[in-house]
């Protein structure tokens, strides 16, 4: 099965270059350029040029970059002239030189990417491909809601972020999805109603929506083979309506044979202000195989007399088999119950290990008992925020990485292998490569060892 990467971003003039040499045979051409191509051009971008002979606008997809050689795949041309090598296009009537190519992103918004995913006649990928849409930090993404509910015959779909546009584990440090208009209450900013979907490396802020009805960052509904990983979901404050704020909310039962994986995410600052509970990662309805691994939930706050703040909730259906391991729940508070972890139904199956809850939660719903007296002796409970020791809980510059060596989470987790990339922490560090015992939470703190760039060295003496 082929994997096709396409770029999503607003830059339609990344660079312009003229082909120098072209190798290969259609539709794939290995192209070198007269000048140096900008480092902001990536696999998944497109290259366009006009062929003078037929006045046709040609589009090629960049499928590989090796050194100075760019592999371009012919996609289409506006006059239906047909597949030609980039070097065979003509700048003018003399046809001595190829035209100047412009490098662009394939799509400008997440919505328009989704439209093509739902299209039965896709342009950039094969009908049974694994497709990866990569966001680029050209400008903020303000899509108020995107519903992924039809991928036609694609094998899988991933919404990701280009490696050079990824967050560094803190908000607004890379490509940013930050709507400014409402999604509709409980619709979700990102709504997933399909199987085979991965959401990764997304930094989504709801901070511009305090007065609007958007209340959920990610909503999933009966999605099998779902993976949500390495995301930052944060900053919903206010009274959005009848339901409170949620970071991730699976709202449907799905099948007992379905699988969902939620790992290495940081979900924080979801705060209701008027008579609703708030939830960090809530998969309560899900009836299948659920893996909630190495997440950090912080400051999930409900309001109203009988309302709760809930870090993690799961396992309402007897057939649900939930594995809950290496997660942090801190400052999950509500006027009624301060809930770190809540296994909803005693009949569901749960395997827990090495979770942590702080000293603010109701002991019945801490990392040890999770509302069902599980008595997990591997849990760490009753610790203070100072003992968890995040780098910064300062509003406006939050950094929920762990302070090395001093955090109780440090090397207190359990090795969970590498399936679905569970070993890759919020910064992209391979936990296994550190040689250290796994930490609890989304950050593997022992990765912060050394650096030799000049700016880093300047801090060494302070």
């Amino acid at each position: 099965m082929a994997t096709t990467i396409v770029s999503i971003g607003s830059n339609q003039a990344i660079d312009t270059e003229t082909p120098a040499t072209c190798g290969g045979a259609g539709p794939l051409y290995d192209v070198t350029w007269v000048g140096s191509v900008s480092a902001s051009v990536y696999v998944g971008d497109i290259a366009t040029a006009t062929h003078f002979a037929t006045a046709s606008d040609y589009t090629y997809l960049i499928t590989a970059i090796v050194g100075s050689t760019y592999t371009l795949k012919y996609i289409t041309d506006s006059a239906a002239t047909g597949d030609l090598s980039p070097c065979a296009l003509c700048l003018d009537s003399y046809c001595d030189d190829p035209p100047v190519f412009t490098f662009k992103r394939a799509f400008t918004t997440i919505i328009l990417f989704e439209v093509d995913v739902a299209d039965a006649t896709p342009l950039y990928w094969g009908t049974t491909d694994d497709v990866i849409g990569e966001l680029h930090a050209d400008s903020n993404f303000t899509d108020n809601t995107v519903t992924f509910d039809n991928k036609q015959s694609l094998a899988s779909l991933t919404l990701s972020v280009n490696v050079d546009s990824r967050h560094d584990g803190t908000a607004e440090s890379g490509a940013l999805w930050k709507p400014t208009t409402q999604s509709g209450h409980s619709v979700g900013v990102c709504r997933v109603v399909m199987d085979g979907f991965t959401l990764e490396w997304i930094d989504m802020s709801l901070a511009s929506l305090d007065l609007l009805n958007t209340n959920k960052a990610v909503v999933t509904s009966a999605a099998n083979n779902l993976i949500i990983r390495n995301c930052l979901l944060h900053d919903k404050y206010g009274d959005p309506g009848g339901t409170g704020p949620f970071g991730i909310h699976e709202i449907s039962t799905a099948l007992s044979t379905d699988t969902q994986i939620i790992q290495n995410n940081i979900v924080y600052n979801f705060e209701e202000t008027n008579n609703d509970s708030a939830g960090g990662i809530v998969a309560n309805a899900f009836a299948g195989n659920l893996y909630i691994y190495n997440n950090t939930a912080y400051k999930i706050v409900g309001a109203g007399g009988n309302k709760h703040g809930i870090g993690y909730r799961f396992g309402n259906t007897a057939s649900c088999n939930a594995r809950i391991k290496n997660n942090i729940a801190s400052a999950c508070n509500g006027p009624n119950l301060d809930i770190a972890f809540w296994k909803n139904n005693a009949s569901s199956t749960t395997t827990t290990a090495n979770n942590l809850s702080d000293d603010t939660v109701n002991v019945l719903y801490d990392a040890e008992d999770m509302g069902q007296a599980l008595n997990d002796t591997s849990a760490i409970t009753g610790v203070t925020l100072a003992e968890i020791d995040f780098v910064s809980t300062t509003i406006g510059t939050e950094d929920l990485h762990l302070l090395s060596n001093t955090s109780v989470c440090w090397e207190a987790g359990v090795d969970l292998g590498s399936v679905s990339g569970v070993n890759i922490d919020i910064d992209g560090i391979d936990r296994d490569s550190t040689g250290a015992v796994w930490d609890i939470g989304a950050d593997q703190a022992s990765s912060v060892a050394s650096n030799t760039n000049p700016a880093f060295i300047m801090f060494m003496d302070c």
């Binding site: 607003s10 606008d57 799509f107 560094d168 607004e172 440090s173 709202i251 809930i310």
Partner: protein, 280 residues
């Protein structure tokens, strides 16, 4: 405003799929404006100084100082001053938690940030690290965007008047129909707010009541129509100066955006609300 209109249907008459004429995406003037500002002022367009920090006083720092809620200044090994750039309130944070449970370890925080080749840490002449946090919504702030363009036009050769179109991709120009529209009220052309423009590409949803006895609201919704609004573009060939057969050719680029405002179709004349029309 710009509207991206679907050409063709993903399932004839099946409203849960995209239909011919559906407004797929919609861009207000303010959203387009903000997009260009962000692209021009992107940190990727600005380098680091020889010490590996962002250079103060650049367009990039001007941009951050006007589009962020907070400015942080490291005072010493353990203290950081936070300035609220809106209210001008100041406080000092440290590794010791304050009454709001806020704390920061400046050394660890900054050490991590500068590991990134695209970090946003500035260093003042006095050797103080400075950074900014929590972006503001510039889309809904025309005065701020005008101020930012003033900085851009002062520091670069870019002009606001040359950045009024959404940067549509070739696929979007070919596969869909991109047009400009305008509001019209009281015998005057009107720019429509970002919130209203965005609503033109909304789905039609209905809320499904939670089952009896649900202690934590589920808030399930049903999407009745992938798009609530559509534009019968096939009736606009004369006003837009387009050949509909060309529009329906998915490889032919048709950019139907009219620059002269009075010549643009009025949104109330062309947009059809499916619910009002009884289609859904």
């Amino acid at each position: 405003m710009e509207l991206v209109i679907n050409v063709g249907s993903s399932g004839e008459g099946v409203q849960t799929a995209y239909q011919d004429g559906d407004i797929l995406d919609s861009f207000s003037e303010s959203r387009t404006d903000a997009c260009h500002i962000e692209m021009i002022c992107s940190k990727l367009n600005f380098g680091m100084n020889s010490s590996g920090f962002r250079e103060p006083g650049t367009l990039f720092e001007k941009y951050l100082s006007k589009t962020r809620t907070y400015k942080f200044i490291r005072l010493n090994g353990s203290q950081v001053k936070r300035i609220n750039l809106i209210t001008l309130e100041e406080d000092v944070l440290s590794p010791t938690k304050n009454e709001n449970n806020e704390s920061i370890n400046p050394y660890e925080y900054l050490s991590r940030r500068v590991k990134s080749p695209n970090h946003e840490i500035f260093m003042t002449a006095q050797g103080k690290a400075v950074w900014y946090g929590r972006g503001l919504n510039i889309i809904d702030n025309e005065a701020l965007r005008a101020d930012l363009w003033n900085d851009i036009e002062t520091d670069t050769d870019k002009l606001r008047i040359n950045h009024t179109n959404w940067p549509s991709s070739p696929r979007e120009i070919c596969r869909h129909l991109v047009i400009k529209s305008i509001g019209y009220k009281g015998n005057k052309f009107q720019v429509i707010s970002n919130g209203t423009v965005c609503s033109f590409s909304d789905s039609e949803i209905i809320q499904i009541p939670d089952p009896e006895g649900t202690d934590l609201p589920i808030g399930e919704v049903e999407i009745v129509a992938k798009r609530r609004s559509f534009i019968p573009y096939w009736d606009l060939s004369a006003s837009l100066g387009i050949d509909i057969s060309d529009v329906r050719n998915p490889i032919k680029p048709i950019d139907a955006r009219i620059e002269n405002v009075p010549d643009r179709p009025k949104i109330d004349d062309i947009r059809i609300d499916k619910k009002v029309a009884g289609i859904i």
